[in-house]
Symmetry: C2
């Protein structure tokens, strides 16, 4: 493996100069003549130099060059895609990663203990809203002490952390896209099926905002099912179907399952839109129309910006746009 010294020797300059050119965060004496800089850059590319992150961070006084990542302990495609994106980014930058998974505050605390022990550490975390509320103090303190944190926030993020990075997918837009699809498919009545504990109503907000003029009821799955039993399927048709926005593919499947052996026909007089574009939803007996989230891209972008954070460069928070995955169910 080629190292700084090799480049320096090949060029007949000092190791220090080479370091200053290639160092992502050069020292304050980091003035290098433009000609020298270009020479070094060229030689480095030519020799296929790849930075040794371990040595870099050891020298910088940190423990290691690892980036810690905390994700929900859910083995679904969204998480898998996020991991793929983050990994893609981390490999590109030459950073290794430590993934932690969990739901509880304990697991989040445990993660924090592990990662924050390292000076120069950075983390990507995807905590539940409850979890974050409980551990707000810990997080705030860590950031105040110079820790770098990037949040994946699917909810309305109302915490004020100076310099923290917040990224996610625009759930309000997701709700809006669902509503627009149902309108386009001639729905007249709408049901908004949110999770049992609706901690944050971004998807609802987008859905309801788009449907101010139409009759729409919001409820959790149990309530929606009751509603379905009350209404008569005969009163709906392909020309004027009932439209349901389920806030997850899982809930969408629950509903599909519940109307099995009734006169509701999913994709006919009953349209259902899910959320997440989960693995296999394209192979269901009635394939599921759903809102896709670009989690792979989210992961990649996130990692790019965390690296910026790590070197104290300014970064910009951003929400990515979800997209419709049109299939049979709506």
């Amino acid at each position: 493996m080629v190292k700084l010294k090799d480049i320096a020797d090949a060029l007949g300059v000092s190791l220090t100069v080479v370091s200053r050119v290639l160092n992502p965060k050069p020292d304050k004496y980091g003035f290098v003549a433009e000609a020298t800089r270009e020479l070094v850059l060229k030689k480095a590319a030519e020799m296929g130099y790849r930075r040794n992150r371990s040595a870099e961070f050891l020298a910088r006084g940190g423990r290691s060059a690892n980036i810690g990542v905390f994700l929900p302990l859910t083995a679904n495609s969204l998480i898998a895609e996020l991991i793929m994106g983050i990994s893609e980014g981390s490999n590109r930058h030459g950073f290794p990663v430590n993934y932690f998974f969990g739901f509880s505050e304990e697991s989040y605390m445990n993660f924090f203990r592990h990662v924050s022990g390292n000076a120069n550490s950075a983390m990507i975390t995807y905590p539940s809203l409850t979890c974050l509320r409980l551990l707000h103090g810990t997080v705030a303190q860590y950031i105040a002490e110079g820790g770098k944190v990037a949040f994946i926030a699917p909810y309305n993020f109302d915490f004020q952390y100076d310099g923290a990075l917040i990224m996610g997918v625009d759930n309000v837009l997701g709700g809006r896209i669902a509503a627009e699809r149902l309108i386009e498919r001639h729905c007249r009545h709408f049901l908004n099926c949110h999770p049992a504990e609706q901690l944050d109503g971004l998807r609802s907000r987008g859905f309801l905002q788009t449907l101010t003029a139409q009759p729409v009821e919001s409820d959790e799955p149990a309530g929606i099912l009751k509603q379905l039993r009350k209404w008569r399927p005969e009163d709906f048709s392909e020309n004027a179907p009932l439209g349901i926005f389920a806030h997850s593919d899982s809930v969408a499947l629950q509903l599909m399952r519940a109307v099995r052996d009734t006169r509701w026909r999913v994709g006919g007089n009953l349209l259902i839109i899910g959320y997440d574009n989960s693995f296999l939803t394209d192979q269901l007996p009635v394939t599921l129309t759903t809102i896709g989230q670009p989690f792979r891209q989210l992961g990649e972008t996130l990692m790019d910006r965390v690296v910026e954070l790590l070197y104290d460069r300014p970064v910009r928070s951003e929400m990515l746009a979800p997209f419709l995955v049109p299939r049979e169910s709506a």
Copy 2:
């Protein structure tokens, strides 16, 4: 963060001695008096010492302490669980990881280039059989040069690598479990639905071995569907259903979808068993009976053994047992 020097100072011994006790791979002069050893061990635990892997491997002449992992680019629950297991293990051992995803030989080669550049490197790889066949030479050479590789092999592994670790899930047993379930549910006729390109017939083997006395046909999905159209559903019943073993949940869903609006009743006169216990298969209109694979456990065990490999300690290859996930479809 407490380091070796801290322990040495606290105990009034030299740093070297402390290193020798705590070093996972002590030098050849590594003789420490039993009394001293215990003292060091006790102090280290007391002070909460955590080894700095970057420094360890930097000193050892390697580039870094990272372990490279290559996995199929498939965002399904199996891969997600594998990652969770591997991460759990790597965190326990204090090793960071670099994950790579792909299918093609190019991606596998790219992975290899990245990871093998590092002396002291180790990798966990889950290549397709075709991929491995194509790159057999590269892999063999890497291992011959002292590289440590752990394979996840779902197929019949007929390569001879000295000292390589091969782990996986026992697919023959998986096939057997499926057959036994269908027998128990009174099936008389059986279909074995393998993938279009059946590269390795371990699942088939287990299935067919258990059903030597019964009529069973093997085919790829298209053929199985043709067969289903030829037979009359009326000739089968809950007391003597037709039993299908699909080699993946995806194929199982394809079949379920194909018999929609026919007189085949999944879970009634037609029993279907899938493979993988994918996310959401427990929430289908007819929930899917499937063969689960303990990939989380596989990942953890794998990482434990790779660390052993890394320090040149002997390891044992092993196949884990799959398990039945009984639900409505069979």
